[in-house]
Amino acid sequence: AEMKFATLFCFVLLSYGSIDALDIPEQLQKLLKIQKPAEEAPYELPALDFGYDSLEPFIDAETVQIHHRGHHAGYTKKMNAILKQWSDKGENEDLLAQPIVDILKNGNEIPIEFRENLQNQGGGFINHAWYWATLSPLDDSTAERKPIGTVAAAIEQRYGKFELFQKEFTETASKFFGSGYVWLCQVAPSNVLQVITFPNQMTPFAFDLKPILVLDVWEHAYYLKHQNRRSNHIDDWWHVVDWKKVEDVARAWNDEGAKSKDEL
């Protein structure tokens, strides 16, 4: 109920225009591989940092492949097609010239005939990039997967200990109804952490939120392996969350650079 209220609250404030949507730092866009391509070139499907079977036995190869090459690629292609149509129209070219993250921040300025479709397809392009960006295969050097650095400190401050955060995130993900994502966000200006859900392909950064971790709970994220047993998908996903990458994302938001690997 708290999550629904938070989402509704953000909706209401955004519609009244009293929340400033955040700039996504260029470095973060690069980390996510969603930065604007040169000239008029279309966006490319962000490449995974790992092979399709690398997340086994936790996320199955067929799911990763279809999720990336079917769903994420589909959003990318459709987003590009809409941007092309918009370009052919020659309307509001200043906005069109911006990176997709900035276009979606200014949703009300997208020409109405493209708006909902671009928010859906562009949201899908961005959200999936975020999902892949904080996953990695297990390797021999990996100890148990736990938060590090500033994120670890923020989790401890907000939740007391990691297990309590994990419990809240897991319960939120289990209870969420329909298609959507579960996000861990820093909330500006204090960067306090908040677990929050958004339906379909809505994007949190349009609501003064700085997402650092996301779980996809659309059924396509887990149905081949788990069928309707979403809880098993959530359990599996925790195994492949890469907290070094989460720390990189958090630092990129906060403009401290992705230093975590060097500092370790």
């Binding site: 079917g70 769903h71 859906n120 392909q201 059924e219 149905y223």
Partner: protein, 124 residues
């Protein structure tokens, strides 16, 4: 259901006034299928595409609802035929290719049932 050698759907539809209403409100059965398929495939996220009956206007209409929003409380239309496009309805067989699933489902629509619902909706 066993299929007649020729035009099984038309045979069943001729049992009532449903085909007449479809022709009147959509032009043809093919038009209905095309329109409802398109509307259903276009559902964002989880939801259903519907053929419904508008009791006030006395006509067939199409609708799409999100998640498990029920048709009649949401739109006022009486449900006649629903196509579930939550991914769980098709993912194991069709993966991300929702259009293939929606095209295929017409082969297993029970038009006799749709015709019964239509008759009941009109009678009320």
């Amino acid at each position: 259901r066993q299929k007649c050698p020729a035009f099984p759907e038309i045979r069943i539809l001729f049992q009532g006034d449903l085909l007449e209403a479809i022709n009147r409100d959509f032009g043809s059965l093919e038009n209905l299928k095309t329109a409802l398929s398109a509307k259903t495939v276009a559902v964002q996220g989880s939801g259903w595409g519907w053929l419904g009956y508008n009791r006030t206007g006395e006509r067939l209409e199409l609708a799409a609802c999100a998640n498990q929003d029920p048709l009649e409380p949401t739109t006022g239309l009486v449900p006649l035929l629903g196509i579930d496009v939550w991914e769980h309805a098709y993912y194991l067989q069709y993966k991300n290719v929702r259009p293939d699933y929606v095209n295929a489902i017409w082969s297993v629509v029970d038009w006799a049932n749709v015709a019964e619902r239509f008759a009941a909706a009109r009678a009320n």
